[in-house]
Protein backbone atom coordinates (compact mmCIF):
# COMPACT_ATOMS: atom_id res chain seq x y z
CA UNK A 1 0.00 0.00 0.00
CA UNK A 2 2.70 2.47 1.04
CA UNK A 3 4.66 1.56 -2.05
CA UNK A 4 1.59 2.23 -4.22
CA UNK A 5 0.97 5.62 -2.55
CA UNK A 6 4.61 6.55 -2.93
CA UNK A 7 4.69 5.56 -6.58
CA UNK A 8 1.47 7.40 -7.38
CA UNK A 9 2.80 10.52 -5.66
CA UNK A 10 6.19 10.18 -7.39
CA UNK A 11 5.18 9.39 -10.93
CA UNK A 12 1.57 10.63 -10.82
CA UNK A 13 0.51 7.76 -13.04
CA UNK A 14 -1.87 5.02 -11.90
CA UNK A 15 -1.17 2.76 -14.86
CA UNK A 16 2.60 2.73 -14.27
CA UNK A 17 2.01 2.03 -10.57
CA UNK A 18 -0.14 -0.98 -11.49
CA UNK A 19 2.65 -2.29 -13.69
CA UNK A 20 5.21 -1.80 -10.90
CA UNK A 21 2.97 -3.78 -8.56
CA UNK A 22 2.46 -6.52 -11.17
CA UNK A 23 6.23 -6.76 -11.60
CA UNK A 24 6.57 -7.22 -7.87
CA UNK A 25 4.31 -10.29 -8.01
CA UNK A 26 0.86 -8.88 -7.30
CA UNK A 27 -2.00 -10.19 -9.40
CA UNK A 28 -3.95 -7.73 -11.60
CA UNK A 29 -6.93 -7.74 -9.18
CA UNK A 30 -4.74 -7.18 -6.13
CA UNK A 31 -2.84 -4.36 -7.84
CA UNK A 32 -6.16 -2.75 -8.82
CA UNK A 33 -7.40 -2.92 -5.22
CA UNK A 34 -4.19 -1.54 -3.77
CA UNK A 35 -4.09 1.32 -6.27
CA UNK A 36 -7.74 2.23 -5.62
CA UNK A 37 -7.22 2.20 -1.87
CA UNK A 38 -4.03 4.26 -2.25
CA UNK A 39 -5.93 6.77 -4.38
CA UNK A 40 -8.62 7.14 -1.69
CA UNK A 41 -5.96 7.66 0.98
CA UNK A 42 -4.08 10.21 -1.14
CA UNK A 43 -7.32 12.11 -1.69
CA UNK A 44 -8.02 12.10 2.06
CA UNK A 45 -4.51 13.34 2.81
CA UNK A 46 -4.95 16.16 0.33
CA UNK A 47 -8.28 17.09 1.91
CA UNK A 48 -6.71 17.11 5.36
CA UNK A 49 -3.85 19.28 4.10
CA UNK A 50 -6.30 21.72 2.51
CA UNK A 51 -8.35 21.86 5.71
CA UNK A 52 -5.22 22.53 7.75
CA UNK A 53 -4.13 25.35 5.45
CA UNK A 54 -7.65 26.78 5.47
CA UNK A 55 -7.69 26.70 9.26
CA UNK A 56 -4.28 28.36 9.47
CA UNK A 57 -5.14 31.12 7.02
CA UNK A 58 -8.50 31.76 8.70
CA UNK A 59 -6.68 31.91 12.03
CA UNK A 60 -4.16 34.43 10.67
CA UNK A 61 -6.92 36.62 9.19
CA UNK A 62 -8.94 36.45 12.41
CA UNK A 63 -6.02 37.21 14.73
CA UNK A 64 -4.65 40.01 12.53
CA UNK A 65 -7.99 41.75 12.27
CA UNK A 66 -8.79 41.45 15.97
CA UNK A 67 -5.31 42.83 16.82
CA UNK A 68 -5.65 45.77 14.43
CA UNK A 69 -9.24 46.27 15.62
CA UNK A 70 -8.59 46.48 19.36
CA UNK A 71 -5.73 48.90 18.74
CA UNK A 72 -7.56 50.88 16.05
CA UNK A 73 -5.84 54.06 14.80
CA UNK A 74 -8.83 56.06 16.11
CA UNK A 75 -8.03 54.79 19.61
CA UNK A 76 -4.34 55.58 19.15
CA UNK A 77 -5.29 59.17 18.26
CA UNK A 78 -7.43 59.36 21.40
CA UNK A 79 -4.62 57.97 23.60
CA UNK A 80 -2.19 60.55 22.20
CA UNK A 81 -4.81 63.23 22.85
CA UNK A 82 -5.41 62.04 26.44
CA UNK A 83 -1.64 62.00 27.11
CA UNK A 84 -1.34 65.61 26.01
CA UNK A 85 -0.90 65.79 22.23
CA UNK A 86 -2.56 68.82 20.67
CA UNK A 87 -4.73 68.64 17.57
CA UNK A 88 -1.99 70.02 15.33
CA UNK A 89 0.42 67.23 16.25
CA UNK A 90 -2.22 64.56 15.70
CA UNK A 91 -3.18 66.02 12.30
CA UNK A 92 0.45 66.53 11.29
CA UNK A 93 1.28 62.92 12.13
CA UNK A 94 -1.50 61.72 9.85
CA UNK A 95 -0.40 64.12 7.11
CA UNK A 96 3.09 62.65 7.27
CA UNK A 97 1.73 59.10 7.28
CA UNK A 98 -0.45 59.69 4.23
CA UNK A 99 2.20 61.61 2.30
CA UNK A 100 4.78 58.90 3.07
CA UNK A 101 2.34 56.17 2.06
CA UNK A 102 1.71 57.89 -1.30
CA UNK A 103 5.40 58.51 -1.92
CA UNK A 104 6.47 55.03 -0.89
CA UNK A 105 3.77 53.36 -2.97
CA UNK A 106 5.14 55.19 -6.01
CA UNK A 107 8.73 54.27 -5.13
CA UNK A 108 7.78 50.64 -4.52
CA UNK A 109 5.99 50.38 -7.84
CA UNK A 110 9.13 51.36 -9.70
CA UNK A 111 11.98 50.22 -7.53
CA UNK A 112 11.94 46.88 -5.77
CA UNK A 113 14.81 46.86 -3.26
CA UNK A 114 12.74 48.11 -0.33
CA UNK A 115 9.81 45.93 -1.29
CA UNK A 116 11.93 42.80 -1.32
CA UNK A 117 13.27 43.64 2.12
CA UNK A 118 9.82 43.97 3.71
CA UNK A 119 8.40 40.50 3.18
CA UNK A 120 4.99 39.84 4.76
CA UNK A 121 6.65 37.90 7.58
CA UNK A 122 9.30 40.50 8.30
CA UNK A 123 6.90 43.44 8.19
CA UNK A 124 4.54 41.71 10.61
CA UNK A 125 7.39 40.90 12.96
CA UNK A 126 8.49 44.54 12.93
CA UNK A 127 4.87 45.60 13.51
CA UNK A 128 4.86 43.44 16.67
CA UNK A 129 7.99 45.22 17.91
CA UNK A 130 6.41 48.57 17.08
CA UNK A 131 3.29 47.57 19.07
CA UNK A 132 5.47 46.73 22.06
CA UNK A 133 7.23 50.06 21.71
CA UNK A 134 3.83 51.75 21.60
CA UNK A 135 2.82 49.86 24.77
CA UNK A 136 5.95 51.25 26.43
CA UNK A 137 5.18 54.81 25.33
CA UNK A 138 1.59 54.38 26.58
CA UNK A 139 2.97 53.13 29.88
CA UNK A 140 5.13 56.22 30.35
CA UNK A 141 2.27 58.30 28.87
CA UNK A 142 4.43 59.83 26.14
CA UNK A 143 2.26 61.19 23.33
CA UNK A 144 5.32 62.08 21.23
CA UNK A 145 6.50 58.47 21.40
CA UNK A 146 3.04 57.16 20.49
CA UNK A 147 2.67 59.47 17.48
CA UNK A 148 6.18 58.80 16.23
CA UNK A 149 5.67 55.05 16.52
CA UNK A 150 2.30 55.38 14.77
CA UNK A 151 4.14 56.57 11.63
CA UNK A 152 6.32 53.43 11.52
CA UNK A 153 3.37 51.23 12.43
CA UNK A 154 1.22 52.57 9.57
CA UNK A 155 3.99 52.06 7.03
CA UNK A 156 4.75 48.51 8.18
CA UNK A 157 1.08 47.58 8.10
CA UNK A 158 0.96 49.06 4.59
CA UNK A 159 3.79 46.74 3.52
CA UNK A 160 2.15 43.76 5.19
CA UNK A 161 -1.27 44.41 3.66
CA UNK A 162 0.13 44.60 0.15
CA UNK A 163 2.30 41.50 0.48
CA UNK A 164 0.38 39.03 2.66
CA UNK A 165 -2.75 38.56 0.44
CA UNK A 166 -0.51 37.51 -2.49
CA UNK A 167 1.42 35.06 -0.32
CA UNK A 168 -1.79 33.58 1.07
CA UNK A 169 -2.91 32.92 -2.53
CA UNK A 170 0.23 30.86 -3.04
CA UNK A 171 -0.42 28.90 0.15
CA UNK A 172 -4.00 28.05 -0.77
CA UNK A 173 -5.63 28.56 -4.17
CA UNK A 174 -8.98 30.36 -4.48
CA UNK A 175 -10.95 27.25 -5.42
CA UNK A 176 -9.77 25.47 -2.27
CA UNK A 177 -10.75 28.30 0.06
CA UNK A 178 -13.78 27.87 2.27
CA UNK A 179 -16.73 30.27 2.50
CA UNK A 180 -14.99 32.42 5.13
CA UNK A 181 -11.75 32.96 3.21
CA UNK A 182 -13.52 33.48 -0.12
CA UNK A 183 -15.58 36.28 1.41
CA UNK A 184 -12.79 37.66 3.56
CA UNK A 185 -13.45 41.26 2.47
CA UNK A 186 -16.86 41.18 4.12
CA UNK A 187 -16.08 38.73 6.94
CA UNK A 188 -12.88 40.65 7.64
CA UNK A 189 -14.83 43.87 8.18
CA UNK A 190 -17.08 42.07 10.67
CA UNK A 191 -14.05 40.62 12.52
CA UNK A 192 -12.32 44.02 12.60
CA UNK A 193 -15.54 45.56 13.92
CA UNK A 194 -15.65 42.91 16.62
CA UNK A 195 -12.06 43.79 17.54
CA UNK A 196 -12.81 47.51 17.60
CA UNK A 197 -15.84 46.93 19.82
CA UNK A 198 -13.91 44.64 22.19
CA UNK A 199 -11.22 47.31 22.47
CA UNK A 200 -13.88 49.96 23.12
CA UNK A 201 -15.56 47.84 25.77
CA UNK A 202 -12.26 47.19 27.53
CA UNK A 203 -11.30 50.86 27.49
CA UNK A 204 -14.73 52.04 28.66
CA UNK A 205 -14.62 49.52 31.45
CA UNK A 206 -11.12 50.09 32.77
CA UNK A 207 -10.06 53.59 31.73
CA UNK A 208 -11.62 55.25 34.76
CA UNK A 209 -11.51 52.52 37.38
CA UNK A 210 -8.56 51.78 39.62
CA UNK A 211 -8.61 48.05 38.98
CA UNK A 212 -5.43 47.92 36.89
CA UNK A 213 -3.31 48.67 39.90
CA UNK A 214 -0.21 46.88 38.65
CA UNK A 215 3.25 48.38 38.47
CA UNK A 216 5.35 47.68 35.39
CA UNK A 217 8.86 49.09 35.08
CA UNK A 218 8.10 51.60 37.82
CA UNK A 219 4.93 52.86 36.11
CA UNK A 220 1.32 52.08 36.83
CA UNK A 221 -0.06 49.86 34.06
CA UNK A 222 -2.75 51.75 32.14
CA UNK A 223 -5.42 50.31 29.78
CA UNK A 224 -3.84 51.76 26.58
CA UNK A 225 -0.51 50.06 27.36
CA UNK A 226 -2.34 46.82 28.07
CA UNK A 227 -4.31 47.08 24.81
CA UNK A 228 -1.08 47.45 22.78
CA UNK A 229 0.54 44.57 24.66
CA UNK A 230 -2.48 42.34 23.98
CA UNK A 231 -2.46 43.35 20.28
CA UNK A 232 1.27 42.54 20.08
CA UNK A 233 0.65 39.14 21.66
CA UNK A 234 -2.20 38.33 19.25
CA UNK A 235 -0.02 39.35 16.28
CA UNK A 236 2.78 37.18 17.63
CA UNK A 237 0.48 34.14 17.64
CA UNK A 238 -0.55 34.98 14.07
CA UNK A 239 3.14 35.37 13.08
CA UNK A 240 3.89 31.95 14.55
CA UNK A 241 1.19 30.41 12.34
CA UNK A 242 2.58 32.28 9.33
CA UNK A 243 6.05 30.95 10.14
CA UNK A 244 4.83 27.47 9.21
CA UNK A 245 4.73 28.72 5.63
CA UNK A 246 8.08 30.48 5.60
CA UNK A 247 9.14 28.30 2.68
CA UNK A 248 6.40 29.88 0.56
CA UNK A 249 8.16 33.00 -0.71
CA UNK A 250 6.37 36.31 -1.21
CA UNK A 251 5.38 37.08 -4.80
CA UNK A 252 7.95 39.30 -6.46
CA UNK A 253 5.95 41.81 -8.47
CA UNK A 254 7.13 43.03 -11.79
CA UNK A 255 8.61 46.41 -11.19
CA UNK A 256 10.08 48.63 -13.82
CA UNK A 257 13.12 49.59 -11.76
CA UNK A 258 13.21 52.92 -13.61
CA UNK A 259 12.34 55.18 -10.72
CA UNK A 260 14.00 58.35 -11.94
CA UNK A 261 12.48 57.98 -15.37
CA UNK A 262 9.02 57.43 -13.90
CA UNK A 263 9.38 60.51 -11.70
CA UNK A 264 10.26 62.60 -14.73
CA UNK A 265 7.28 61.10 -16.56
CA UNK A 266 4.98 62.04 -13.65
CA UNK A 267 6.00 65.71 -13.70
CA UNK A 268 5.81 65.81 -17.47
CA UNK A 269 2.32 64.37 -17.28
CA UNK A 270 1.28 67.05 -14.81
CA UNK A 271 2.36 69.80 -17.21
CA UNK A 272 0.37 68.10 -19.98
CA UNK A 273 -2.76 67.88 -17.79
CA UNK A 274 -3.17 71.66 -18.05
CA UNK A 275 -4.15 71.38 -21.68
CA UNK A 276 -6.98 68.93 -20.87
CA UNK A 277 -9.62 70.72 -18.83
CA UNK A 278 -11.58 67.56 -18.06
CA UNK A 279 -8.54 65.82 -16.67
CA UNK A 280 -7.59 68.91 -14.69
CA UNK A 281 -11.06 69.06 -13.10
CA UNK A 282 -11.00 65.39 -12.16
CA UNK A 283 -7.46 65.73 -10.79
CA UNK A 284 -8.27 68.68 -8.53
CA UNK A 285 -11.68 67.33 -7.51
CA UNK A 286 -10.32 63.93 -6.51
CA UNK A 287 -7.28 65.42 -4.76
CA UNK A 288 -9.45 67.74 -2.67
CA UNK A 289 -11.89 64.95 -1.74
CA UNK A 290 -8.90 62.80 -0.74
CA UNK A 291 -7.56 65.51 1.58
CA UNK A 292 -11.02 66.18 3.05
CA UNK A 293 -11.46 62.46 3.82
CA UNK A 294 -7.97 62.29 5.28
CA UNK A 295 -8.61 65.17 7.69
CA UNK A 296 -11.98 63.75 8.72
CA UNK A 297 -10.37 60.37 9.45
CA UNK A 298 -7.60 62.00 11.47
CA UNK A 299 -9.99 63.72 13.85
CA UNK A 300 -13.24 61.70 13.81
CA UNK A 301 -12.25 59.51 16.77
CA UNK A 302 -10.97 62.36 18.94
CA UNK A 303 -14.04 64.46 18.14
CA UNK A 304 -16.52 61.71 19.05
CA UNK A 305 -14.53 60.94 22.19
CA UNK A 306 -14.57 64.54 23.38
CA UNK A 307 -18.12 65.45 22.35
CA UNK A 308 -20.05 62.25 23.01
CA UNK A 309 -18.35 60.62 25.97
CA UNK A 310 -21.47 61.04 28.14
CA UNK A 311 -23.92 59.74 25.53
CA UNK A 312 -24.69 56.49 23.80
CA UNK A 313 -22.81 53.36 24.79
CA UNK A 314 -19.73 54.94 26.36
CA UNK A 315 -16.84 57.10 25.16
CA UNK A 316 -14.82 54.41 23.36
CA UNK A 317 -17.72 52.21 22.31
CA UNK A 318 -19.32 55.20 20.55
CA UNK A 319 -16.11 55.50 18.53
CA UNK A 320 -16.25 51.73 17.88
CA UNK A 321 -19.82 51.86 16.57
CA UNK A 322 -19.16 54.83 14.30
CA UNK A 323 -15.95 53.26 13.01
CA UNK A 324 -17.82 50.02 12.26
CA UNK A 325 -20.47 51.96 10.35
CA UNK A 326 -17.68 53.62 8.35
CA UNK A 327 -16.10 50.25 7.53
CA UNK A 328 -19.33 48.67 6.37
CA UNK A 329 -20.52 51.66 4.33
CA UNK A 330 -17.18 51.83 2.50
CA UNK A 331 -17.98 48.36 1.12
CA UNK A 332 -21.37 49.41 -0.24
CA UNK A 333 -20.12 52.25 -2.49
CA UNK A 334 -18.62 50.17 -5.31
CA UNK A 335 -21.75 48.01 -5.40
CA UNK A 336 -24.01 51.10 -5.71
CA UNK A 337 -21.88 52.43 -8.60
CA UNK A 338 -21.75 49.06 -10.36
CA UNK A 339 -25.53 48.68 -10.22
CA UNK A 340 -26.40 52.22 -11.27
CA UNK A 341 -23.59 53.52 -13.48
CA UNK A 342 -25.23 52.33 -16.70
CA UNK A 343 -28.69 53.81 -16.04
CA UNK A 344 -27.89 56.92 -14.02
CA UNK A 345 -24.45 57.75 -15.43
CA UNK A 346 -21.00 57.94 -13.88
CA UNK A 347 -20.70 61.70 -13.60
CA UNK A 348 -24.08 62.13 -11.84
CA UNK A 349 -22.96 59.44 -9.38
CA UNK A 350 -19.64 61.21 -8.91
CA UNK A 351 -21.49 64.45 -8.10
CA UNK A 352 -23.88 62.61 -5.79
CA UNK A 353 -20.97 60.97 -3.99
CA UNK A 354 -19.14 64.26 -3.51
CA UNK A 355 -22.28 65.84 -2.01
CA UNK A 356 -22.83 62.90 0.33
CA UNK A 357 -19.20 63.18 1.46
CA UNK A 358 -19.95 66.72 2.64
CA UNK A 359 -22.73 65.49 4.97
CA UNK A 360 -20.27 64.03 7.49
CA UNK A 361 -18.18 67.16 8.20
CA UNK A 362 -21.36 69.24 8.13
CA UNK A 363 -23.08 67.01 10.72
CA UNK A 364 -19.91 67.03 12.85
CA UNK A 365 -19.92 70.83 12.70
CA UNK A 366 -23.55 70.98 13.85
CA UNK A 367 -22.97 68.25 16.50
CA UNK A 368 -26.56 67.08 16.84
CA UNK A 369 -25.68 63.99 18.82
CA UNK A 370 -24.76 60.36 18.47
CA UNK A 371 -27.55 59.18 16.12
CA UNK A 372 -27.02 62.11 13.80
CA UNK A 373 -23.27 61.47 13.67
CA UNK A 374 -23.73 57.74 13.13
CA UNK A 375 -26.07 58.38 10.19
CA UNK A 376 -23.79 61.10 8.84
CA UNK A 377 -20.85 58.69 8.99
CA UNK A 378 -22.84 56.09 7.09
CA UNK A 379 -23.73 58.57 4.34
CA UNK A 380 -20.39 60.41 4.32
CA UNK A 381 -18.23 57.31 3.97
CA UNK A 382 -20.71 55.81 1.49
CA UNK A 383 -20.44 59.06 -0.49
CA UNK A 384 -16.68 59.02 -0.54
CA UNK A 385 -16.68 55.37 -1.60
CA UNK A 386 -19.22 56.13 -4.37
CA UNK A 387 -17.05 59.06 -5.53
CA UNK A 388 -13.97 56.89 -5.65
CA UNK A 389 -15.63 54.13 -7.68
CA UNK A 390 -17.42 56.56 -10.02
CA UNK A 391 -14.18 58.49 -10.50
CA UNK A 392 -12.39 55.34 -11.63
CA UNK A 393 -15.11 54.59 -14.18
CA UNK A 394 -15.21 58.22 -15.38
CA UNK A 395 -11.46 58.12 -15.99
CA UNK A 396 -11.94 54.97 -18.04
CA UNK A 397 -14.31 56.87 -20.32
CA UNK A 398 -12.44 60.14 -20.48
CA UNK A 399 -8.86 59.04 -21.06
CA UNK A 400 -7.27 56.41 -23.23
CA UNK A 401 -5.88 53.31 -21.56
CA UNK A 402 -2.22 54.31 -22.09
CA UNK A 403 -2.76 57.81 -20.63
CA UNK A 404 -4.82 56.28 -17.83
CA UNK A 405 -1.96 53.98 -16.90
CA UNK A 406 0.43 56.94 -16.76
CA UNK A 407 -2.11 58.96 -14.77
CA UNK A 408 -2.59 56.34 -12.06
CA UNK A 409 1.14 55.74 -11.91
CA UNK A 410 1.91 59.47 -11.65
CA UNK A 411 -0.87 60.60 -9.31
CA UNK A 412 0.86 59.32 -6.17
CA UNK A 413 4.05 61.17 -7.03
CA UNK A 414 2.09 64.35 -7.76
CA UNK A 415 -0.11 64.18 -4.69
CA UNK A 416 2.21 63.42 -1.79
CA UNK A 417 3.50 66.96 -1.38
CA UNK A 418 0.11 68.75 -1.70
CA UNK A 419 -1.35 66.18 0.74
CA UNK A 420 1.41 66.91 3.24
CA UNK A 421 1.05 70.69 2.95
CA UNK A 422 -2.75 70.97 2.76
CA UNK A 423 -3.48 68.50 5.53
CA UNK A 424 -0.87 70.19 7.71
CA UNK A 425 -2.72 73.47 7.08
CA UNK A 426 -5.96 71.67 8.05
CA UNK A 427 -4.27 70.45 11.24
CA UNK A 428 -3.22 74.00 12.04
CA UNK A 429 -6.82 75.21 11.53
CA UNK A 430 -8.01 72.49 13.94
CA UNK A 431 -5.42 73.56 16.49
CA UNK A 432 -5.97 77.31 16.15
CA UNK A 433 -9.76 77.50 15.58
CA UNK A 434 -11.06 74.16 16.81
CA UNK A 435 -12.42 71.03 15.17
CA UNK A 436 -15.90 72.44 14.49
CA UNK A 437 -14.44 75.21 12.31
CA UNK A 438 -12.24 72.69 10.51
CA UNK A 439 -15.25 70.48 9.78
CA UNK A 440 -17.24 73.44 8.53
CA UNK A 441 -14.32 74.34 6.26
CA UNK A 442 -14.15 70.79 4.91
CA UNK A 443 -17.90 70.74 4.20
CA UNK A 444 -17.52 74.07 2.38
CA UNK A 445 -14.63 72.72 0.27
CA UNK A 446 -16.77 69.74 -0.79
CA UNK A 447 -19.91 71.73 -1.56
CA UNK A 448 -18.30 74.99 -2.68
CA UNK A 449 -15.34 73.74 -4.74
CA UNK A 450 -15.53 70.01 -5.56
CA UNK A 451 -19.24 69.90 -6.36
CA UNK A 452 -19.17 72.93 -8.77
CA UNK A 453 -16.06 71.50 -10.46
CA UNK A 454 -17.76 68.18 -11.18
CA UNK A 455 -21.01 69.91 -12.14
CA UNK A 456 -19.10 72.08 -14.63
CA UNK A 457 -17.61 68.90 -16.10
CA UNK A 458 -21.11 67.45 -16.44
CA UNK A 459 -22.29 70.56 -18.31
CA UNK A 460 -19.26 70.38 -20.60
CA UNK A 461 -19.92 66.74 -21.37
CA UNK A 462 -23.68 67.27 -21.86
CA UNK A 463 -22.97 70.01 -24.41
CA UNK A 464 -20.76 67.59 -26.28
CA UNK A 465 -23.65 65.09 -26.00
CA UNK A 466 -21.30 62.54 -24.50
CA UNK A 467 -23.03 60.61 -21.77
CA UNK A 468 -20.66 59.50 -19.04
Amino acid sequence: MDLAKEKIKQIMDVEVTRQVLNNQGYSAGEAENIVNQALVEIEEEKKKETLKKRRDLTGIEFLDRVAFGISSIQYINIFAFIFGANLFLIGLTHSIINALQLFLTFVLEHGNRLKCFFSSQKSKFLAILVFLLMAYFALIESYAGILLTLIFYSLLIGFYNTRYPKKSMLILKVEKRGVVLRNIALVGVLITSLGVYLGGWFLDHYMLSASLDINVMGHKLNPPALIFAIAAFILLVSELILLKYRNVKDVQDNVSGRLREKMKQAFQFFSNIKSDRRLLILFFGSALTFIVSLLINSYLGVYIYTKLSDFGLGAFRNVAVIFTIALISSLIGPWVVRKNAATIGKLPLLIFGSLLTAILPFALYLNKGFTSMALATLLGILGSSISESALGLTFMDIIRSETRRIYFSSIKMLLWLPVLILSAIGAYVAFEFGLTILFLGLAIIQVGIVFPLYFALLIMETRKKVIL
Binding site: D204, H205, L208, S209, A210, S211, D213, S309, D310, F311, G312, L313, G314, R317, A342, T343, I344, G345, L347, P348, L349, I351, F352, L355, L356, A358, I359, F362, A363, L366, K368, G369, F370, T371, S372, L375, A376, L379, G383, F455, L458, I459, E461, T462, I467, L468
Partner: protein, 169 residues
Protein backbone atom coordinates in the same frame (compact mmCIF):
# COMPACT_ATOMS: atom_id res chain seq x y z
CA UNK B 1 -31.06 45.97 -26.05
CA UNK B 2 -31.72 49.52 -27.08
CA UNK B 3 -32.13 50.56 -23.45
CA UNK B 4 -31.41 54.27 -22.85
CA UNK B 5 -30.42 55.86 -19.56
CA UNK B 6 -32.11 59.04 -18.32
CA UNK B 7 -30.58 62.40 -19.19
CA UNK B 8 -27.44 62.85 -17.03
CA UNK B 9 -28.40 66.41 -16.16
CA UNK B 10 -31.84 65.31 -14.99
CA UNK B 11 -30.35 62.40 -13.05
CA UNK B 12 -27.92 64.79 -11.39
CA UNK B 13 -30.71 67.17 -10.36
CA UNK B 14 -32.62 64.26 -8.79
CA UNK B 15 -29.53 63.02 -7.02
CA UNK B 16 -28.68 66.48 -5.70
CA UNK B 17 -32.23 66.80 -4.33
CA UNK B 18 -31.88 63.35 -2.78
CA UNK B 19 -28.50 64.21 -1.18
CA UNK B 20 -29.87 67.49 0.21
CA UNK B 21 -32.92 65.75 1.69
CA UNK B 22 -30.65 63.15 3.30
CA UNK B 23 -28.56 65.96 4.80
CA UNK B 24 -31.73 67.57 6.19
CA UNK B 25 -32.77 64.27 7.79
CA UNK B 26 -29.31 63.80 9.32
CA UNK B 27 -29.16 67.23 10.93
CA UNK B 28 -32.72 66.98 12.26
CA UNK B 29 -32.49 63.51 13.69
CA UNK B 30 -31.44 64.66 17.16
CA UNK B 31 -35.06 64.30 18.30
CA UNK B 32 -34.54 60.56 18.72
CA UNK B 33 -31.23 61.02 20.45
CA UNK B 34 -29.96 58.22 22.66
CA UNK B 35 -29.97 58.70 26.40
CA UNK B 36 -26.92 59.70 28.42
CA UNK B 37 -24.60 56.92 29.50
CA UNK B 38 -25.72 55.11 32.62
CA UNK B 39 -22.42 55.41 34.47
CA UNK B 40 -23.21 52.62 36.89
CA UNK B 41 -23.97 50.29 34.04
CA UNK B 42 -21.07 51.05 31.77
CA UNK B 43 -18.36 51.73 34.33
CA UNK B 44 -19.24 48.81 36.59
CA UNK B 45 -20.22 49.25 40.26
CA UNK B 46 -20.24 52.73 41.78
CA UNK B 47 -17.92 53.79 44.58
CA UNK B 48 -20.86 54.10 46.96
CA UNK B 49 -21.86 50.51 46.29
CA UNK B 50 -18.29 49.24 46.56
CA UNK B 51 -17.49 51.10 49.80
CA UNK B 52 -20.64 50.15 51.67
CA UNK B 53 -19.62 48.58 55.00
CA UNK B 54 -16.03 49.87 54.85
CA UNK B 55 -14.72 51.57 57.98
CA UNK B 56 -11.29 52.03 59.62
CA UNK B 57 -10.35 53.46 62.98
CA UNK B 58 -7.23 54.27 64.93
CA UNK B 59 -6.06 52.26 67.93
CA UNK B 60 -4.97 54.02 71.14
CA UNK B 61 -1.92 52.56 72.87
CA UNK B 62 -1.09 55.19 75.50
CA UNK B 63 -1.48 57.79 72.77
CA UNK B 64 -3.50 57.78 69.49
CA UNK B 65 -1.28 55.37 67.56
CA UNK B 66 -0.67 57.35 64.44
CA UNK B 67 2.62 58.84 65.50
CA UNK B 68 6.14 59.57 64.34
CA UNK B 69 9.36 57.97 65.57
CA UNK B 70 12.59 59.87 65.00
CA UNK B 71 15.55 57.87 63.71
CA UNK B 72 17.89 60.83 63.22
CA UNK B 73 17.70 64.60 63.46
CA UNK B 74 15.51 64.98 60.39
CA UNK B 75 14.47 61.45 59.51
CA UNK B 76 11.51 59.73 61.10
CA UNK B 77 8.94 57.01 60.50
CA UNK B 78 5.22 57.57 60.58
CA UNK B 79 4.01 54.48 62.42
CA UNK B 80 0.40 53.49 62.93
CA UNK B 81 -1.97 50.83 64.22
CA UNK B 82 -5.42 50.79 62.60
CA UNK B 83 -8.46 48.61 63.06
CA UNK B 84 -10.75 47.39 60.29
CA UNK B 85 -14.10 48.30 61.81
CA UNK B 86 -16.12 47.40 58.74
CA UNK B 87 -17.43 44.19 57.26
CA UNK B 88 -15.22 44.00 54.17
CA UNK B 89 -11.64 42.95 53.54
CA UNK B 90 -9.29 45.83 52.86
CA UNK B 91 -6.56 45.21 50.26
CA UNK B 92 -4.56 48.42 50.33
CA UNK B 93 -4.16 51.92 51.66
CA UNK B 94 -3.59 55.40 50.37
CA UNK B 95 -1.81 57.54 52.93
CA UNK B 96 -1.58 61.31 52.48
CA UNK B 97 0.59 63.34 54.79
CA UNK B 98 0.47 67.12 54.84
CA UNK B 99 3.57 68.74 56.31
CA UNK B 100 4.24 72.38 57.10
CA UNK B 101 6.39 72.75 53.95
CA UNK B 102 4.81 70.26 51.51
CA UNK B 103 2.74 67.08 51.26
CA UNK B 104 2.98 63.60 49.75
CA UNK B 105 0.78 60.60 49.09
CA UNK B 106 1.73 56.93 49.09
CA UNK B 107 -0.42 54.14 47.69
CA UNK B 108 0.31 50.53 48.44
CA UNK B 109 -1.30 47.11 48.48
CA UNK B 110 -1.18 45.02 51.64
CA UNK B 111 0.67 41.72 51.51
CA UNK B 112 -2.34 39.98 53.03
CA UNK B 113 -5.97 41.00 53.05
CA UNK B 114 -6.86 43.02 56.14
CA UNK B 115 -9.87 41.16 57.45
CA UNK B 116 -12.77 42.83 59.31
CA UNK B 117 -12.30 43.38 63.05
CA UNK B 118 -8.52 42.85 62.85
CA UNK B 119 -5.58 45.19 63.36
CA UNK B 120 -3.07 46.49 60.89
CA UNK B 121 0.03 46.89 62.99
CA UNK B 122 2.65 49.16 61.48
CA UNK B 123 4.47 50.10 64.69
CA UNK B 124 7.80 48.99 63.28
CA UNK B 125 7.07 49.28 59.58
CA UNK B 126 5.80 52.80 59.05
CA UNK B 127 6.24 55.35 56.28
CA UNK B 128 9.53 57.22 55.96
CA UNK B 129 9.19 60.90 56.75
CA UNK B 130 11.72 63.67 56.18
CA UNK B 131 11.14 66.60 58.53
CA UNK B 132 13.57 68.81 56.65
CA UNK B 133 11.74 68.28 53.38
CA UNK B 134 8.13 68.28 54.57
CA UNK B 135 8.27 70.14 57.86
CA UNK B 136 6.16 69.45 60.94
CA UNK B 137 3.30 66.99 60.32
CA UNK B 138 -0.01 68.83 60.21
CA UNK B 139 -2.46 66.23 58.90
CA UNK B 140 -2.59 62.53 58.01
CA UNK B 141 -5.30 60.82 55.93
CA UNK B 142 -5.71 57.05 55.55
CA UNK B 143 -7.97 55.86 52.68
CA UNK B 144 -8.86 52.15 52.56
CA UNK B 145 -8.79 50.26 49.27
CA UNK B 146 -11.27 47.43 48.63
CA UNK B 147 -12.00 44.97 45.86
CA UNK B 148 -15.60 44.82 44.68
CA UNK B 149 -16.90 42.77 41.73
CA UNK B 150 -13.39 42.46 40.35
CA UNK B 151 -12.64 46.18 40.53
CA UNK B 152 -10.52 48.01 43.07
CA UNK B 153 -11.84 51.15 44.74
CA UNK B 154 -10.29 53.71 47.08
CA UNK B 155 -13.05 54.59 49.56
CA UNK B 156 -12.18 58.24 50.07
CA UNK B 157 -15.52 58.89 51.75
CA UNK B 158 -14.61 56.27 54.40
CA UNK B 159 -11.13 57.57 55.22
CA UNK B 160 -9.62 58.22 58.63
CA UNK B 161 -7.90 61.52 59.46
CA UNK B 162 -5.70 62.64 62.31
CA UNK B 163 -4.24 66.09 62.71
CA UNK B 164 -0.82 66.82 64.27
CA UNK B 165 0.19 63.30 65.36
CA UNK B 166 2.39 62.97 68.46
CA UNK B 167 5.77 61.33 68.89
CA UNK B 168 5.53 57.58 69.42
CA UNK B 169 6.25 56.30 72.95
Amino acid sequence: MNKKGISPLLATVFLIAFAVSLAVVVVNISAIEVKPVDTNKSEGPSMEEACKGVSIDMVVIDIPYICYKNVSENEAYLNYVLKNEGIKDIIGLRVSVMGQKSSFTREFDLEEKWAPQTLLDKRNDGIEYDFEKYGKILQTIFVPKVLFKGQAFYCSSHSFELAEPLECP
